[in-house]
Amino acid sequence: MKRIKKSGYTLLMNTIIFILGFPLIVLVIWSFTKRWPWPCMFPKAFGIRSFQYMISPGSNTLQVLIGSIWLSIVVTLITLLISIPAARALGIYHFKGKKLFKMAILAPIIVPPVATGMGIHVAFIKMGLVNTFMGVVLVHLIPCLPYGVRILTNTFEITGKSMEMQAKVLGASGLQAFFYITLPLIAPGLMAASSLVFIVSFSQYFLTFLIGGGNVITFSMMMFPYIQSGDRMMASAYSLVFVLTIFVLLIVMEKIVKRYYKTHNHFYI
């Protein structure tokens, strides 16, 4: 009985991995495909045109990629900076209208950015924020904040304030209690929030396009024309780099956090 259960579990896991991984395999194949006419099961000819173009100095791919990562890192940091105090308030304190705040924080996810984007555009023109890096960072905060605040709110709800209280009783100031006790305790939540926020920012297309006005170019903007024009080889290659970038960054981030704080599974006590 146990063995059947176990093999059933393995089968399920393998299926899930296959379903998630298969599109990636197709992506890899497409990025090396020169010709793949219709009824054929497999590509007729392979090539490395896409990658050649990508590393050619004229394409600016690497520059845009680095710029894009930089932009998303800045967005992530600012989001966390705003989210930590907000989430702390929502997770620990009791005040009137708390539930309303919790709902309202999700508004940017519920209301489509297209609806608000136009208004923001006009306002940003007046403030001179259009076509600037800062403007794009600001507008990215809108879809990112809900994720940051919500994830960290849950984290703070679990952590509570008792540990901080204990630290203060032992003579720690508010800042000391935060840096020595709270920050390490919420590290796993910070990890989760920052990865998600990074991904959200990194994949923004519409808002970047609107506010950046072609002046600030991100990686997703670069790959969009290829997807639109049907150049599957290029589009696949760019998508692959897109996925790998996020993947590598997440791993690096987790390693850094783990090294700083021995995240000993103590979070979910």
Binding site: S162, M163, M165, Q166, A167, K168, V169, L170, G171, A172, S173, Q176, Y180, I181, P184, L185, Y261, K262, T263, H264, N265, H266, I269
Partner: protein
């Protein structure tokens, strides 16, 4: 060491009065207990003393000086919480040294003090372990060591033993008592366990519904509770109503000479252990029939029906009676406490 005084402290949460005019004082080096059922405001009082909560009215004095404006970190009062709250990402050593680090004590001095503390709580072997790897009793001892490391003037213990199993509780209790006597730290213990309170404290403050109902030494508290509510909190009691006239108590069981200056209608509180049971003897005034008996190991708890009243009785196991058996009862009248009937 500090002397603590709590004066007219009031506190409410969401319009619900949790503390209604709390007054008491603790002498230097004394160990007192705040005893009360859960939700009576004991922990709130403790947090106000530590500075984690602000009272709405009233004052907290250490050595005669108000400390309300002194922040938690500088007050010199440390709480040890029920859940120990060891910092999970720090080793035992770092946990104990945390307060010293916050006080910016140099590293070598800190290490020395931590070592001393580890010896004090007999945990030298665990210095490099994480809190996860410790047992309940060990965690408790680390929490105590961490609190004592910063040499507090006031030690506040918030139900520190209630998460431990009974035998460990016993050991930790005497351990902390000895430590307190040795270091002479002014200590306030909060508990709902009456035996614990009676065993460890110099004085006990019984808290009921946000008020201090009685504040006295353990024996006085148990022998002469100030009101039926306090008496009931300390254990099940028998009450007999009657009249007192010129030092004689008249009730349904007859008349008895008593020492009290109460007059007229009174309620006599008789502790179950002050009722003696013996085989049926018609010369005795009170006779009854055993209705129920419960065996607790060292004692036997009986309920006896007499004149349609249930009388509780706790005896040793020297003589055992059966259910349904007719018995005679003797009440130790000089131990009875009288209350005015309307109380």
């Amino acid at each position: 060491m500090f002397e603590i005084e709590i004066k007219h402290v009031l506190k409410s949460f969401d319009n619900k009065k949790v503390l209604k005019d709390i007054n008491f004082s603790v002498k230097e080096g004394e160990m007192i207990t705040l005893l009360g059922p859960s939700g009576c405001g004991k922990s709130t009082t403790l947090k106000i003393i530590a500075g984690l909560l602000m009272p709405e009215q009233g004052d907290v004095l250490f050595n005669g000086r108000s400390v309300l404006n002194i922040p938690v970190a500088k007050r010199g009062a440390v709480i040890v919480f029920q859940e120990y709250l060891l910092f999970p990402h720090m080793t035992v050593e770092d946990n104990i040294g945390f307060g010293l680090k916050m006080a910016k004590m140099p590293k070598n001095k800190r290490a020395e003090r931590v070592k001393k503390m580890l010896q004090l709580v007999q945990l030298e072997a665990c210095s490099k372990k994480l809190p996860d790897e410790l047992s309940g009793g060990q965690k408790q001892r680390v929490a105590i060591a961490r609190a004592l490391a910063i040499e507090p003037q006031v030690l506040l213990l918030d139900e520190p033993f209630s998460n431990l199993d009974i035998r460990l509780r016993e050991t930790m209790r005497s351990f902390i008592c000895e430590l307190q006597k040795k270091l002479k730290i002014t200590t306030i213990l909060v508990t709902h366990d009456k035996e614990e309170a009676l065993m460890v404290s110099d004085r006990i403050a019984v808290m009921l519904d946000g008020e201090i109902a009685q504040y006295s030494v353990p024996m006085e508290l148990y022998e002469t509770p100030i009101s039926p509510r306090v008496a009931d909190f300390l254990g099940e009691k028998n009450y007999i109503c009657g009249n007192i006239d010129n030092g004689v108590f008249y009730c349904c069981f007859g008349k008895y000479k008593v020492h009290t200056n109460k007059q007229e209608e009174v309620k006599a509180m008789i502790k179950p252990e002050d009722v003696e049971m013996m085989p049926l003897d018609h010369k005795r005034a009170i006779q009854g029939r055993v209705k129920q008996k419960r065996y607790t190991g060292d004692r036997m708890h009986y309920i006896i029906i007499s004149k349609e009243m249930e009388i509780k009785c706790i005896t040793t196991l020297k003589s055992v009676f059966e259910i349904g058996e007719e018995v005679s009862l003797d009440i130790l009248w000089d131990k009875v406490v009288f209350y005015q009937k309307n109380k």
